[in-house]
């Protein structure tokens, strides 16, 4: 299964013209970790890190099955493998976040509804990775911008 990821460019957070390579690396690392935590936080709170909206609850039948091993809520955690596989990788212009292949990428695809195939599945959409033309919810973006600015300010001082 192909990866289900989103590329966040540094230039979408901060003016990168006068930032040196080392600082960019720090920003990528720090912003990446924060982004991962905020996505996991939203997921645990049963809300989308993309739209910010609460997810629809579980169906009665699935809730019954899920309750045996985990809380019967829509937090995308049954075995925990998919969320464990959520990762970040820096690339030249920014960071790439998502599930980078394997069976967990298929699960992520079905929840995020990225492809025509996944749209055909009966799973309701519970998006936690934005599509190419989307981005993260305002609150998340604000925190990422704030952190990037702080790192640059600290570097300049």
């Amino acid at each position: 299964m192909a990866k289900i990821t989103y590329k966040l460019k540094l230039k979408d957070l901060i003016d990168v013209k006068n930032i040196n390579r080392d600082t960019k690396k720090v920003i990528k690392d720090e912003v990446g970790e924060l982004l991962l935590d905020l996505i996991l936080k939203d997921t645990a709170n049963q809300r989308s890190a993309v739209s910010g909206q609460k997810w629809k609850g579980l169906s009665k039948e699935y809730k019954k099955i899920k309750s045996k091993v985990a809380p019967g809520v829509a937090n995308l955690e049954l075995t925990g493998d998919m969320l464990d596989a959520l990762d970040i990788k820096p690339y030249r212009d920014g960071i790439e976040i998502g599930v980078f292949g394997g069976e967990d990428a298929l699960k992520a695809e079905n929840h995020n509804k990225f492809t025509a195939r996944s749209l055909k599945t009966s799973l309701p959409k519970r998006q936690f990775i934005p599509k190419k033309d989307e981005t993260f919810r305002k609150g998340i973006k604000k925190e990422l911008v704030k952190l990037a600015k702080e790192i640059v300010d600290e570097d300049n001082s």
């Binding site: 935590d37 905020l38 091993v69 985990a70 969320l83 464990d84």
Partner: protein, 168 residues
Amino acid sequence: MKITVDKSGFTLPQEIKRILSTVGRDARTKFSRQAADQLKKDIVSTIKTGNSPVKNFRRFQGYSPSYRQAINRGRYRRYNKRLRPVNLTLSGRMLKSIASRLTTEGFMIYFTSRLVKYHNDLGAGRSRVKRRILPRDNEVFKRSVMIKSIEILTESVENLLAKKLRRL
């Protein structure tokens, strides 16, 4: 009952320390209390979702096969223990033992439960799995855990400064 305080669990986030150092003693005490209460809540809620509150530590490692088997067999049914999330909660007493104490610089966060030592430093169970819930040495809390406490502190400091400016 004697409460043993694990002193090595004390931590003071640098970001919070920096903000607190800008205000006077009375305000520092008041703000520290508010920030400590918020931080305690956020640490516990992070742990309950199966994530470490410590920077560079991600989600907690899954339970060992023998513990999973015990859960599946209903050994911990009275605690309503499930396989997921890995939330370090059985009776809930350990997480409830989170406490804070004011210091000259700000405040300390710690757990009074002895179990913390096993999860955080020594390793729990036969597999000796460590699940970091308090920072050690040069480690710090995750920024996502401190966002609200820093917001509270920044707001309090700004309000205080605005009040002082109005008086001038």
